[in-house]
């Protein structure tokens, strides 16, 4: 692979939440337990690259997305976009940061306030950021925007309230609105998981086209491995707040090294019914994110686990160029 210069650099992002229900002894000892929803995630992305983040529910995918979009402040770590620290950027010029980084949410039915028409919803951010000179021009921009996204007649749609539109239409508006500022870094948090299967492809293609036009870097969070494979250049697999495997899309799908990734991919439905493959069954639930133990978090459920796995969390090794795995059995 060509060595592209990294554009977005995610540096040791962690998102810890204090544990609420303490036991009595913890209260006396003043021990603070943390739920490590995202723990030391470091990734690098080139400009225009699409990173797919996969993992089972509760593994911290969405929390990572929220931390990247600064909807919540990460406990530690920073994200550098074009070598500019977002930590500093958000302090100096919050609006500029919001123009650079945008997020598309999972639930289109709840993304817009129910009290406003689409017109107001679209005009508000433009006014807020002082884009275009007057309302007339802003309105024109909104109409052009909706029509470019295939929402016709735009004039009619502008007059509607969110509850009068379908999920697909709303998600399209949501994506279009995110693109208003030509963002450099887009986080898509399961943008199609709540939509009808029939409109998913349209929405995904729209997101891809628009981000390609902007040459934006995309973090695509999903639990749909087939979909992620279709769209992304790189894949990061998360388990209990940590990235356990990371590399080029095809490498991960075809030659997964971590047992968890192997299990995950083996369970993906294939179009070809004759394809011979072994489905790896993973039993049990992931351990609690409060003190998951000294060893590899996946060890209790792992089919390859050895004694060694329970002793210490494995270091991340570069299995081959650009393919990182955290497993001690490699």
């Amino acid at each position: 692979m060509e060595a592209k210069k990294s554009f977005v650099k995610i540096n040791n992002i962690s998102m810890w939440y204090p544990q609420k229900n303490k036991t009595l002894s913890q209260v006396f000892k003043k021990e603070q337990q943390w739920v490590k929803a995202v723990d030391n995630v470091s990734l690098e992305l080139a400009k225009g690259e699409i990173l797919g983040v996969i993992g089972e529910s509760g593994c911290g995918k969405s929390t990572l997305g929220r931390a990247l979009a600064r909807l919540e402040n990460p406990t530690q770590g920073d994200v550098f976009i074009n070598d500019i620290s977002t930590q500093n950027l958000i302090k100096e010029d919050q609006r500029k940061f919001r123009r650079t980084v945008q997020i598309v949410f999972q639930n289109p039915f709840d993304t817009f306030t129910p009290r406003d028409t689409i017109e107001k919803i679209l005009m508000r951010p433009l006014k807020l950021h002082g884009i275009e000179k007057n309302d007339e021009e802003r309105r024109k921009k909104c109409i052009d925007l909706l029509e470019s996204g295939g929402l016709k007649p735009a004039e009619e749609i502008m007059k509607r309230y969110p509850h009068e539109l379908s999920g697909g239409q709303l998600q399209r508006i949501s994506i279009l609105r995110s693109m208003l500022f030509n963002p450099q870094f887009i986080i898509a948090d399961e943008p199609v998981s709540m939509l009808d299967v029939s409109v998913r492809a349209e929405i995904i293609n729209m997101l891809l086209t628009l981000s390609r036009e902007n040459d934006a870097t995309v973090v695509f969070i999903s639990h749909d491995i087939a979909l992620t494979r279709y769209i992304s250049d790189k894949i990061a697999v998360m388990y209990l707040g940590k990235v356990i495997e990371y590399g080029d899309c095809e490498t991960i799908i075809n030659r997964p090294q971590h047992p968890y990734t192997q299990a995950l991919i083996s369970n993906t439905a294939s179009i070809d019914p004759d394809e011979e493959r072994e489905i790896i069954k993973v039993e049990g639930e992931p351990p609690t994110p409060v003190n998951p133990g000294p060893g590899c978090y996946f060890a209790p459920r792992c089919f390859k686990a050895t004694e060694n796995c329970f002793k210490q969390y494995p270091e991340t090794v570069e299995f081959e160029s650009g393919h990182f795995v955290s497993c001690s059995e490699i």
Binding site: F112, T113, K152, P153, E156, E164, S174, S178
Partner: protein, 296 residues
């Protein structure tokens, strides 16, 4: 394309929405009675000067007239004032106190509760404790004390009632804000670069105001009662005609001229009932989980 087809039905949709709201109002008996009562009260308050047969502030020669005597429909009091005219003018006082105090209480409650619920954390902790402390105070005696110490004008009564009844509104909007701030549209507003204050006024408060509206109407009836009670204890505004005062003044003539107190009392009961029905009805209509017993 699906989108272009749908555009044609906009007008119909709006019509449907309006009809649904109308149907909801019609299906709720309490709200229907409440609205009718309120219309009557507002009408009387606005056209009071046209409706009265005598000037209620006029101390005439007809003292303690019986019902219907000398064209006084409901008689006169010991100062020769016409009771019917006084009751009609009393509507103005009652409504003024109700609306004024409810507005003050709603504005303070929404601001404080909204801030507590949206910002959360330490701010919430402090404000919630303040609200709890305020709720412990015996409101009526506090009002009594303040009115007794300061001037007992109708404006003062209004302000004091407003200042002592906001905690229930604050609690309601705080609970709403706590849940609304987790909604996606608030998160997306953050992502669009809106400031905390913008979010509070644009998203949290407008979307969480309904329970406060219902509570405020019930609060209005309480305000009317409080004002009447204050007047009954002789702490009302002596320059304004109020039902509570009429009861207070008529008390000593109860055996000989029962009409002075009785009709003012009936008027209070009617007005308070109207506001209670309105508040209850609003609660039903605005709560999507509430279903009418008819199954409609």
């Amino acid at each position: 394309m699906v989108t272009s087809k749908k555009g044609l039905y906009v007008g119909r949709n709006e019509n449907k929405k309006f009809n649904r709201t109308l149907l909801k109002i019609k299906s709720d008996t309490e709200l229907k009675f409440g609205l009718t009562g309120l219309t009557i009260l507002v009408f009387v308050a606005v056209f009071a000067s046209l409706l009265v047969p005598f000037d209620p502030y006029f101390f005439g020669p007809d003292i303690l007239n019986k019902l219907g005597e000398n064209q006084h429909i409901l008689g006169t009091n010991h100062l020769g004032q016409d009771i019917f005219s006084m009751i009609i003018y009393g509507v103005r006082t009652s409504l003024m106190v109700a609306v004024g105090s409810a507005l003050i209480s709603a504005v303070i409650g929404i601001l404080i509760g909204g801030i507590a619920g949206y910002f959360g954390g330490k701010i919430d902790l402090v404000i919630t404790e303040c609200i709890n402390a305020f709720m412990m105070v015996p409101t009526f005696f506090l009002i009594l004390l303040i009115i007794a110490l300061f001037d007992s004008s109708i404006t003062n009564v209004m302000i004091v009632i407003g200042l002592t009844t906001w905690p229930s509104n604050a609690k309601l909007i705080r609970a709403q804000a706590l849940s609304i701030r987790e909604r996606t549209y608030v998160k997306s507003a953050v992502a669009m670069g809106e400031t905390n204050l913008q979010i509070l006024f644009k998203y949290i408060i407008p979307n969480g105001i309904f329970p406060v509206l219902a509570n405020t109407t019930i609060g209005m009836s309480n305000a009317i009662l409080t004002e009447a009670s204050l007047s009954f204890l002789g702490l009302g505004d002596p320059n304004v005609i109020s039902w509570g005062q009429m009861i207070f003044m008529g008390k000593q003539y109860l055996t000989s001229a029962w009409w002075i107190s009785t009709f003012a009392g009936v008027a209070i009961v009617f007005t308070v009932t109207v506001f209670y029905l309105l508040g209850d009805g609003l609660n039903h209509v605005l709560d999507p989980k509430h279903k009418s017993r008819k199954g409609a």
